[in-house]
């Protein structure tokens, strides 16, 4: 009866590799989070693609034709070309910050999804990274479709526009993490209004998307330069119509890198605080 060194039977011993010593940050776990999103996306891709066709058409018709009739040229390019790149950037912003914010809140509170995932050997950093990375990848689809719509509307973009994909990833990751960070602070759905009208709305306007920053008062210009979306738009314009020198795009990239780092750190910290008590 007494077997001091009794081992659990093989059937309950666990999968051998399931218990190997873990690194602090496991790419495979991020991969599992991405895989979950991919399985869902396979079923809903059509609505993503459809939404990203309709939205730019609305902007092109309203701003491009409506506004473009009044303003012929902006910052040395036709107004239509100017706002077309602005529209791509806005697509990137909306398609990353909104899922980050809305999914982030719903999955934490109503669906209890994160609670389930964190009961597995998953860290908050892996969870936040996986979700932000997914939104960043998904946003390349949105940006790509917007480029096609712009081409169909006769915007003459150079081959450099293929850079839209990495630009979308780099910007989308930061915005998705920003959405997740705000979602972690929300106490109810009502708070979403504050985030949308107080932060996202000014952000998408004061970014050189539909009009250049030069015309704004000094303080608003400063806000614009601090806006990550501005750096995204600048990179997109360079990619579509040619960069003037290397310094400016490198500066834009550096600004986006700093933004990504800050947004990721904030998201990990706030989500951890919201999920672990």
């Amino acid at each position: 009866m007494t077997t001091p060194t009794r081992q659990a039977p093989a059937s309950a011993a666990g999968h051998p590799s399931a218990e190997r010593p873990a690194r602090r940050f496991e790419p495979a776990v991020v991969g599992a989070i991405l895989y979950r999103e991919w399985r869902v996306f396979r079923r809903v891709w059509f609505s993503t693609a459809f939404g990203s066709i309709v939205e730019p058409i609305v902007y092109f018709v309203a701003f491009g034709f409506g506004f473009g009739a009044l303003v012929a040229e902006v910052a040395g390019m036709s107004y239509f070309d100017f706002m077309a790149t602005g529209t791509i950037a806005i697509g990137i912003l909306f398609s990353s910050v909104f899922p980050g914010l809305i999914n982030g809140y719903a999955r934490r509170t109503e669906k209890h999804l994160y609670d389930g995932q964190l009961a597995a050997p998953v860290t908050v950093a892996e969870l936040v990274t996986g979700e932000a990375l997914w939104h960043a990848l998904r946003v390349t689809v949105v940006a790509g479709v917007t480029v096609l719509v712009a081409l169909a509307f006769g915007v003459r973009m150079g081959p450099g526009i293929v850079l839209v994909a990495p630009i979308a990833v780099v910007t989308g990751f930061g915005f998705a993490a920003t959405g997740a960070a705000f979602a972690a602070k929300l106490r109810s759905w009502h708070g979403i209004d504050i985030v949308i009208s107080g932060i996202i709305a000014p952000m998408f306007v004061v970014a050189g998307t539909f009009f250049p920053l030069d015309g704004l008062p000094g303080w608003a210009q400063a806000v614009g330069y601090a806006n990550p979306l501005y750096h995204c738009v600048e990179l997109l314009r360079g990619a579509a119509f040619g960069f003037e020198g290397l310094l400016a795009p490198l500066g834009n990239l550096a600004a986006l890198a700093a933004f990504n780092l800050l947004a990721w750190l904030a998201a990990v910290r706030l989500v951890r605080r919201a999920l672990i008590d």
Binding site: M1, T2, T3, P4, T5, R6, A8, P9, S11, A12, A13, G14, H15, P16, S17, A18, E19, R20, P21, A22, E26, A28, V29, G31, A32, I33, Y35, R36, R39, V40, K111, H112, L113, D115, G116, Q117, L118, A119, A120, P121, V122, T123, L275, I276, D277
Partner: protein
């Protein structure tokens, strides 16, 4: 002596305190769950059962005290602990956007089940949940009982050495509850350690080698279900009915005879009824004492 006392405990809590603002959910708690046993946590709503479970997965962090799961100190080594744990939460958190099979597969990945074993793990989970024929239905389309079954199967998909079940059968019809009991018994018989919280006395009596009665964040009694009943309320209980005056009289007479009582609805239950021999006031319905009697005597509360 049973072998389990020689191996280190699967779960060890020492003087653990967990507060939420003014509420002390876990109050200087001490207990151990021996490896290979099925251990039940019995307590009324708000006793702190779920809070304890969260401390064991690192999803809650104790304010003070020592928590160890399978030898891993928490929260520092919580990832290693979670890798060997299967968790079935009280609050259903199935992924409604995924199918039944995908729910299992995503968990197998999160639990780092090796690629070559993943398919088999998913099939095993489907069989366990008896949902093989519903594998491609989304979780949102399942009935309440099916969801519970899937939730349990998901917690077991990586064949954990320790299973944490937080009220696994709550809200189920008796038939499905009995099915789940056999599932839990299987896990236990395969050698895993099980910690389960429950409101159902019958569940604890059938499945658990040992139970702890928890009240206001403390363990107020611990032991084998039968020993606890024998030690605290004897072997038999007599239920005596009547109007309010009758009940008060029975309570007084029982007290004079040195016996404990508890009110349950419209009757008084006289504990230790095996010691009664034909007193005139003591006429009623005799039944075996059970854990619920222990529970009420210890906590002064009926189970939910």
């Amino acid at each position: 002596m049973s072998s389990s006392h020689l191996s280190p405990p699967a779960i060890l809590l020492r003087d653990v305190v967990k507060r939420f603002g003014p509420i002390t959910a876990v109050d200087h708690l001490d207990f151990e769950v021996p490896t290979g046993s099925c251990f039940g946590l019995l307590g009324p709503n708000g006793a702190g059962k779920s809070t304890m479970m969260r401390l064991l997965t690192g999803q809650g962090v104790a304010d003070s005290g020592r928590v160890e799961v399978l030898g891993h100190p928490l929260p520092a080594a919580s990832r290693a602990a979670r890798a060997a744990c299967g968790v079935v939460p009280q609050v259903d958190n199935l992924d409604d956007e995924l199918t039944v099979a995908e729910n299992l597969e995503v968990y197998a990945r999160l639990q780092r089940v090796p690629r070559t074993e993943r398919l088999a793990a998913v099939e095993h989970g489907l069989a366990l949940a008896r949902l093989t024929d519903r594998r491609d239905a989304t979780a949102a389309a399942l009935s309440g009982g099916m969801r519970r079954r899937l939730l349990i199967a998901r917690g077991l998909v990586h064949r954990p050495r320790l299973v944490l079940l937080d009220e696994p059968t709550v809200g189920l019809d008796p038939q499905i509850r009995a099915q789940l009991w056999s599932q839990i018994a299987e896990i236990r018989d395969e050698g895993a350690t099980v910690l389960m919280s429950t409101h159902y006395i019958e569940e604890a009596e059938r499945l658990c080698d040992e139970v702890a009665v928890v009240h206001a964040g403390r363990v107020v009694a611990q032991g084998g279900p039968r020993e606890l009943v024998a030690a605290l309320v004897g072997t038999e209980v007599m239920e005596i009915g009547g109007d309010a005056d009758d009940l008060r009289r029975v309570e007084r007479q029982a007290r004079e005879a040195g016996l404990g009582t508890r009110r349950s609805g419209t009757t008084v239950a006289v504990l230790g009824a095996e010691h009664l021999d034909g007193q005139a006031w003591a006429t009623g319905f005799r039944r075996p004492a059970n854990l619920e009697d222990v529970f009420v005597v210890l906590t002064g509360e009926e189970l939910g």
